[in-house]
Amino acid sequence: MTDQNTGQPADLDPDHGKVRSVGIVEPQVMTFDEPLPLRSGRTLDHYELVYETYGELNESASNAILICHALSGHHHAAGYHSEQDSKPGWWDACIGPGKAIDTERYFVVSLNNLGGCHGSTGPQSINPDTGKQWGPDFPVMAVRDWVKSQARLADRLGIECWLAVVGGSLGGMQALRWSIDYPDRLRGAAAIASAPKLTAQNIAFNEVARQAIINDPSFHHGHYAEHGDYPKQGLMLARMLGHITYLSDAGMREKFGRDLKTGTLSFDYDVDFQVESYLRHQGENFSSTFDANTYLLMTKALDYFDPAADHDHDLARCLAQAKARFLVVAFSTDWRFAPERSEEIVNALIHAGKDVSYLEIDAPQGHDAFLFPIKPYVRALSGFLARLTEEAEQASEVTHAG
């Protein structure tokens, strides 16, 4: 069902069609010289985080929202980098004036995580010990390491307590980790299309992606940059596989069906169907913009995430220390991070006596649905944030009155 005027699915936020954007944004860089101890046992002595902010931080610094990105995300979540930019940031559908995360009300911070390939210190950065790129020697990051680095960024931005930490997929894992590791530093945590840990099937998908990259002759054991090369085929395959798992069967059927690229079967082994063409195109685009070592690192961070492991695999006990209000959202056709996985988080939070709200949104887009401004999802997220704001205001009145 589509809206006749806009051609958009009717359940999408009608405001989305209008050009309401945060406009031109400029990434900023924060440099840290305090060593960061990592879960792996290694330490990152010096690092940089690249980030963007949208909206204004209020006087009491109580309206700040942290956006945590997923596997292939980065700091550029909303707006445009230049007038010529054809595409806005990756979550522009939900971040902007009047959108789910309303930049007229909130100060939004979005960063590129450590180990990334969009400006923050990562495999493509120079290792000060060798004077060469880190490449595969860059420490494998854990979600808790990211959260620690994000907390330091918050310190530097003068944000004692986030109004909310919000993330989809791997980003949702960061929101959960925030609530566990820094219970006093966030009022709300929104874990969207996420999971308390990956299943074997999910790890298996990641492993196939990694094998595709590692076995590409151009990978050179991760030192491809020194060879002036990169594992294009491997990255392409990894992305194609990933992409299939981010879409739903119904969504792909609706989008591509069995449509042919040229109208006839070719009877050779080149592209016949539109879906093949689409996947190749996606894979190629991705392989030319994303670093292979970062891809490996991000998938490992996903695989390793299992906060309950520190608490006898009892998620409720693990979350007992959290103080935030939680919003958990899942999407009906998401099979990579299925609603049942979100319900595990919800059930653990209920067992732990936490304040949690949960919705399963009907959406055909599969895992990718979390990127779309689907009406009930937008309303739930904005309602959650508005409520947190009211409470933050009440709390500050009490403090001031006291």
Partner: protein, 206 residues
């Protein structure tokens, strides 16, 4: 607030942990949170209602009440409420049992099918009764398991549940003295407060 909700609110001790099954837009829980310092959680299936709960600051989770209660721990709530939904369950007896497993006490409200006007409708018109609180045609109604006060009391007896208190409201949603004499005839909405004495005493050990 609806009259039946006002009565329920009176039965809930301040500071208790309350689970409201089929909480709608969260009116009751919101009131209980504000006035009784109750720690509440709603369960609802209607997404519009869920969003209104979130906007009110009432924690609410989307679950199917017929299948989704198994994950709640034994005696994990002080009071479990189900207002005007029991008759919509696939297996009301199992739902009641689940409510008394999850909560130390349960409060149930339902439209009393023994109400005189319902009986009149069936008797004189010979058709399935319809009214303001039973507005659906027989073939398209969510109310698949209607019962009378007497039926519900029998169910409680069968399940060894104790009725702590009960009341009925008439069509004006008033709690009149006269209807106390003939609740199953004069009450349009029934409200029951039940528990399971032998499990309630075991709570100290839990």
């Amino acid at each position: 607030m609806r009259a039946d909700l006002e009565i329920i609110a009176d039965w809930i001790p301040a500071g208790s942990r309350v689970l409201d099954l089929g909480c709608g837009d969260g009116t009751l829980l919101s009131w209980l949170r504000q006035h009784r310092n109750v720690d509440g959680l709603g369960v609802e299936i209607n997404q519009d209602s869920i969003i209104r709960c979130i906007e009110k600051g009432v924690p609410v989770v989307q679950k199917n009440l017929d299948t989704g209660l198994t994950n709640f721990g034994d005696k994990s709530f002080d009071v479990v409420i189900m207002s005007q939904s029991l008759q919509q369950m696939k297996a009301p007896h199992k739902t009641l049992n689940e409510m008394l497993r999850i909560g130390r006490e349960a409060i149930v409200t339902f439209p009393n099918f023994g109400y005189w006007n319902t009986r009149r409708y069936l008797f004189f018109l010979g058709r399935m009764p319809m009214s303001k609180i039973l507005p659906y045609s027989w073939f398209d109604t969510p109310n698949i398991h209607l019962c009378t006060c007497r039926d519900f009391e029998r169910l409680c007896r069968d399940q060894k549940a104790r009725i702590r208190q009960s009341t009925v409201l008439d069509s004006q949603h008033q709690k009149r003295r006269a209807i106390r004499l003939l609740p199953n005839l004069l009450g349009e909405i029934a409200i029951y407060h039940v528990d399971k004495p032998h499990t309630a005493t075991a709570q100290g050990a839990a």
